[in-house]
């Protein structure tokens, strides 16, 4: 992968990330259709679902890279992660401003008392430090702790899927699909980690026992 091609792919990914927002914005102003009978819900769900999809894509980068050997994919992870953060943020803003009209009292009750909103809010809060430390400089400065900090993304993914599961009225098929994909992606890491542990152990054994 040449540097130029990678830059081109990155640009395409950024454009693709903007598409859902552009779709909502265009329809909000009547271009290419409307947002249906319940536009607030349409915007809320589009942003929320896009955020969750991007989060899952971010989590899928490492397994795909390891399976295919396409190591340059890792260069897209920050873009996807930041896009996920912005969509989740937009989702929360849509909820607080467009849906609840910034009624602080009911917002506080929701965050404190309604489990699906509590876990969703927690996921958003946990994404903030990851977004803030997403720069190269921060990565260099934090070193090992950066890796540890960014493992939070697994927890954020789980919280996001639980938020989805707890808000649906009864048809849980879609949130369960998300949970299944998440379980696969996390399961891959557990298997991969154990495999590496084993390899390390074998290497040490070889070193310790003379041939």
């Amino acid at each position: 992968m040449t540097r130029r091609n990678l830059a081109l792919i990155k640009a395409l990914v950024i454009v693709a990330c903007v598409v859902p927002f552009a779709w909502v914005a265009a329809r909000a102003f009547g271009y290419g259709g409307d947002l249906g009978a319940n536009p607030v819900q349409m915007v809320l769900h589009t942003f929320g679902k896009t955020g969750l999809n991007l989060l899952i894509l971010t989590l899928a980068i490492t397994p795909i890279r390891k399976q295919t050997g396409l190591n340059w994919l890792v260069a897209l992870r920050r873009t996807l992660g930041l896009a996920a953060f912005f969509y989740i943020l937009l989702h929360a803003i849509t909820y607080a401003v467009l849906d609840q009209g910034l009624a602080w009292q009911s917002l506080l009750v929701d965050v404190a008392m309604r489990p699906y909103i509590t876990v969703g809010f927690l996921a958003l809060v946990l994404m903030v430090p990851l977004a803030v430390t997403s720069t190269n400089a921060m990565q260099r400065r934090l070193k090992r702790r950066w890796v540890q900090l960014h493992r939070l993304v697994y927890l954020i993914g789980i919280l996001g899927a639980v938020h989805f599961l707890w808000l649906v009225k009864i048809d849980v098929s879609e949130p369960l699909l998300y949970m299944g994909v998440l379980a696969l992606l996390l399961g891959y890491r557990v298997v991969d980690w154990r495999r590496r542990q084993q390899r390390r152990l074998q290497a040490r054994q070889r070193r310790e026992s003379p041939a």
Binding site: G36, V40, L98, D171
Partner: protein, 336 residues
């Protein structure tokens, strides 16, 4: 023309003119598109007393064809104070919960074309002197259709205002001569996987079922509904025959009814069976009684736009003056 008006409705509380004009526009458009029969199908000739109810098994003749689409003719109007703008036909017919056709809000509008609403029959059974299976046209004979503008509040905290067309449920139920043991009425929706792709998935226990106390069912606001905006009900709205109980959450207003059962004990209802903690038998609209997972204090008005704010939800959906007496002595927080 017979105009029924309950004593507590002020003369000033009339159907908004905009709704009336919009309906006429839709009728005109439908006429132009050749969708409507030139003569009104069965709205006018109806009137006077009720003919004898003859079950299909005894006499299988159909009297008059129930129009599959089209104009319901000159309707008696029952003016009603809704204090809100009527929701557009477009929104009423494209944002539906009808899980037999999919769980997405736009699924019913996409999928319900496979529902065959003609011929249609309803089986009446249980604690009543007259039971059997009756053709829909026979059931409707003698009832005067009324135009009723009702608020409609979904348990999901959205709402609309709909110009339904129908007749009082109680007027029909009385004709079956319920026995003294008929304390409740249960209703069932059609359950046919061939016509309803959604029933292949066990999202709810099929057939969909709902129920009312006999007093609720006899209340003049409870409407057996066959149309909206002056036209035959679109399939996604529960054609050809549905219930509208405007003071209860929308899921109580069962669609595409094929069975009515008079019962001594409280009947099973689908959402209650699915989650009794979240969906009670009564399910009266009540801003003080939250759904365990979300607030019921406010509602989002369909069609009001992206920058509209939620409005406060009213006890019994604003019909407290008419229906609160049904629940005297009942703790509404416990009997939700």
């Amino acid at each position: 023309m017979l105009i029924k008006r309950p004593p507590d409705i002020k003369p000033s509380e009339i159907t908004p003119e905009s709704a009336f004009h919009r309906r006429r526009d839709i009728l005109k458009a439908a006429l132009a598109a050749g969708l409507l029969p030139a003569a009104n199908a069965w709205g006018q000739a109806i009137g006077g007393g009720f003919p004898e109810l003859v079950p299909l098994a005894r006499e299988a003749t159909r009297h008059r064809a129930f129009p599959e689409v089209g104009n319901l003719g000159d309707l008696n109007t029952w003016p009603h104070d809704v204090e809100r703008e009527t929701t557009s036909f477009e929104d009423i017919t494209n944002y539906n919960n009808y899980y037999e056709f999919g769980t997405g809000k736009t699924d019913p509008a996409k999928n319900a074309h496979t529902l065959r609403t003609h011929p249609w029959s309803v089986t009446v059974e249980g604690e009543a002197d007259i039971t059997g299976t009756f053709a829909l046209e026979d059931l409707m004979k003698g009832h005067t259709l009324e135009d009723r503008l009702y608020r409609f509040r979904c348990v999901e905290a959205w709402s609309m205002v709909v110009p339904w067309v129908g007749f009082p449920l109680g007027d029909l139920l009385k004709r079956f001569e319920p026995t003294s043991r008929a304390n409740y009425v249960q209703f069932f929706t059609l359950n046919d996987a061939e016509q309803m792709p959604g029933v292949r998935y066990p999202v709810l226990r099929w057939p969909y079922r709902e129920g009312l106390t006999i007093a609720e069912a006899m209340h003049p606001l409870a409407l057996l509904t066959v149309g909206l905006y002056g036209q035959v009900l679109p399939n996604q709205n529960g054609a050809p025959l549905r219930l509208i109980v405007p003071w209860k959450y929308g899921f109580k207003s069962i669609k595409s009814i094929v069975r009515i059962r008079f019962m001594e004990r409280e009947p099973e209802t689908s959402w209650n069976m699915a989650n009794a903690r979240e969906y009670g038998f009564y399910s009266n609209v009540n801003p003080d009684k939250d759904h365990p997972r979300w607030s019921q204090a406010t509602e989002r008005v369909l069609g009001a736009g992206l920058f509209s704010s939620r409005i406060p939800t009213r006890l019994f959906n604003g019909y407290a003056d008419q229906v609160a007496s049904l629940y005297t002595g009942l703790d509404l927080m416990r009997n939700y």
